[in-house]
């Protein structure tokens, strides 16, 4: 399920990233930004689906805005112009409204438009620097060149009735396809405007700090030999499962996990069904305390297959 090219070296990944790949199929691409303070921070490249959803939301908003401007103007003109003029005016207002919309919000909301904010996306500088106004303006006006002006040309192209192949329209269509292909063929999923402006779109959902799962006092106790059965990766998978909302499905999974753990560590005392969660939480606490202490002593244990031998 996980694609190897996304992971430089599987074993060297931090446990929390491996857990993310375990649960989400490892689709996320990451880049590292080193802050001026010297601490590397990981950013996640937004994926195509997220960007499409964000764009669709923005599209709906600015289309509505455009019509809000356009309909009074059209009413003012009346039927004087004919359909072609009406389309021209619509294109013009579309041009104005959408560019002001994107540029305003990306400047005012630190690289997010309403659509991007809903989905949890941000535009950031590719090198990790500040997002400067000229980059925002460049990346948005390039969208015109990439998409809307070619589309406008294609839409208006219907009037030339030659029957022959129009090289202009062919070139326009080819250009449109090329623009759409750019985000697919580069690593950071940058579209043409991002390449030119030196920006990228990252996924930055708001995360919540949940309460610590660690128990204050343990009902069950485990020996170091039992705790040595697992590593950080398994610990975090367990954490993820314990944090899931309670429902019959979760309960079933936890039961299975509990059985597996009991077999692995040779837990002999019988466990009643009601005790499963308490047992798992205690095990999680003891395991985390054990692994964190080992890690402090320089004996970190990424998963159950690797790490220091049991003889330690």
């Amino acid at each position: 399920m996980t694609t190897a090219q996304d992971l430089p070296e599987g074993a060297s990944l931090a446990a929390h990233e491996r857990t993310a790949q375990f649960f989400e199929g490892g689709r996320r691409r990451k880049r590292e930004i080193v802050t001026p303070e010297g601490v590397p921070v990981t950013v996640e490249i937004a994926d195509y689906g997220e960007r499409l959803v964000a764009f669709t939301i923005d599209f709906v908003i600015w289309t509505l805005l455009t019509f809000a401007v356009y309909i009074p103007v059209l009413a003012l003109i009346g039927k004087a112009g004919g359909i072609l003029i009406a389309i021209s005016i619509a294109l013009f207002f579309g041009f104005l409204v959408r560019n002001l919309y994107f540029i305003y919000f990306e400047l005012a909301w630190q690289g997010a438009t309403p659509g991007k904010r809903i989905v949890g996306l941000r535009v950031i500088d590719h090198g990790g620097g500040p997002l400067i106004p000229s980059a925002v303006i460049a990346r948005n006006l390039t969208r015109e060149v990439e998409m809307f002006i070619p589309l406008g040309v294609l839409l208006q192209g219907g009037q030339s009735i030659n029957g022959a192949v129009d090289w202009k329209e062919l070139a326009t269509a080819a250009w449109l396809l090329f623009s759409l292909a750019i985000p697919v063929i580069n690593r950071d999923r940058m579209r043409g405007g991002d390449l030119i402006a030196g920006t990228m779109v990252v996924s930055l959902p708001k995360r919540v700090l949940s309460s610590d799962l660690v128990e204050r006092a343990l009902r069950f106790t485990f020996t170091p030999a039992q705790l040595r059965a697992y590593g950080a990766f398994e610990l975090q998978v367990l954490e993820e499962l314990l944090r899931r909302p309670h429902n019959p499905e979760t309960a079933r999974v936890l039961d299975e996990v509990c059985d597996k753990i009991c077999r692995k560590i040779g837990w002999s005392n019988p466990l009643s069904r009601q005790d499963v969660i308490a047992f798992l939480r205690d095990f999680y606490t003891a395991e985390r305390a054990f692994l964190e202490r080992e890690q402090l002593y320089g004996k970190s244990r990424p998963d159950k297959y690797t790490g220091p031998a049991a003889s330690a």
């Binding site: 001026p36 003029i85 294109l91 013009f92 500040p130 400067i132 106004p133 002006i149 610590d212 799962l213």
Partner: protein
């Protein structure tokens, strides 16, 4: 709660062997990561709140006190992240801190300017500066256009059959070797103003039509080492030269130039700017210096993009002039005055604006 945890922590530091003593009733155990979290969580939550407000309403929404707290809390969160990576195995905590540190980083080092000030800085400073930096490319693009105009003019003056080769039929609009001086004068140069709605149609047509497309192709084809850019620019010049020659042969040169100049100075300026932008791209690809070609393009792409933006803006103005003013102003001398005046304004804007007192 923090105090009890600290008390337990001290006891355990005094006697670490107590940590996970197996058997022996119900041992209390302490985790470094929990202690660590208890001591710092309040600061994270405070930072989280500040960052959330900056994201919603900008840096200005913070009070002076909060503004001073922000970088302090940010550095504390960064150090928390660095520590947590080495001591904590709590996945939720690690992900939260990564996220918080990144958001705070973007808030602290984010743009300082309000949208209005950003736009002003862009137009007053960034755009003209980028254009000035490409003066050699602009010169080359202008020469390519002038060569085209000269060749197109000379050839068509001698033999009007060239006109149809240089000017696509769709663009010629019925003009050609068979046009008479009277028809050119009345139907084109001094045709009556068609009314606001029609004029607007012309305007929008300019924006989404041939010239825009050619300009953008000149720009985009810079990726193909710039030769197509120069060829296309010269070809545009050929058409223009042929157009003038057609009028020259009918003694309408001055009127024709006036008719062209009112929007032509802006439109040709846009074409030159877009071609020059294409040449900048070609230049960065052909002569990457000590970077790889792609790196160099990314490094300097913004300059080319700014020139493209400038070109699009000029096309916009050209559309307004062509649709709104060309047929409204019926006097040739006034047309010259407007065209040359606007051209001079562009020249002053791009060469002087944002330069300050320094030459």
């Amino acid at each position: 709660m923090t105090q009890t945890a600290d008390a337990i922590g001290e006891r355990l530091i005094a006697n670490p062997e107590l940590d996970v003593a197996p058997g022996a009733g119900r041992p209390k155990l302490v985790l470094k990561s929990r202690e660590f979290r208890n001591g710092r969580e309040q600061g994270w939550r405070e930072l989280d709140e500040l960052v959330r407000r900056v994201e919603r309403r900008g840096v200005r929404s913070l009070s002076l006190d909060e503004l001073q707290r922000l970088p302090i809390l940010y550095r504390a969160a960064l150090s928390s992240l660095a520590v947590a990576r080495t001591i904590a195995l709590d996945r939720n905590l690690l992900l939260y801190l990564e996220n918080l540190a990144l958001r705070a980083y973007l808030a602290v080092y984010g743009p300082r300017l309000s949208p209005g000030a950003g736009l002003r800085a862009f137009f007053v400073h960034d755009l003209p500066a980028a254009v000035r930096a490409a003066r050699w490319h602009i010169l080359v693009a202008t020469l390519a256009l002038l060569v085209g105009v000269a060749v197109g003019f000379i050839l068509t003056v001698q033999d009007e059959a060239w006109f149809s080769s240089f000017m696509p039929a769709a663009m010629a609009g019925g003009r050609g070797p068979s046009s008479t001086a009277a028809s050119l004068r009345d139907k084109e140069l001094f045709a009556p103003w068609p009314g606001a709605v029609e004029a607007f149609g012309v305007f929008a047509n300019v924006l989404f039509s041939h010239n825009t497309l050619v300009g953008l192709m000149c720009f985009g084809l810079g990726l193909a080492a710039g030769i197509p850019t120069l060829m296309l620019t010269t070809y545009q010049g050929l058409g223009l030269g042929a157009f003038v020659a057609l009028h020259y042969n009918r003694d309408l040169t001055i009127e024709c130039l006036g008719w062209l100049s009112i929007h032509g100075t802006t439109e040709l300026g846009a074409l030159i700017l877009l071609s020059a932008g294409g040449l900048v791209i070609a230049d960065k690809i052909l002569f990457p210096g000590r970077y790889s070609r792609i790196e160099n393009l990314a490094l300097h792409g913004r300059q080319a993009a700014l020139m493209g933006v400038g070109g699009i803006l000029m096309l916009f103005v050209a559309g307004i002039l062509e649709g709104g003013f060309r047929q409204l102003v019926q006097s040739t001398s006034l047309r010259f005055a407007i065209g040359l005046g606007v051209g001079a304004l562009w020249l002053i804007y791009f060469s002087r604006c944002g330069r300050g007192a320094r030459r």
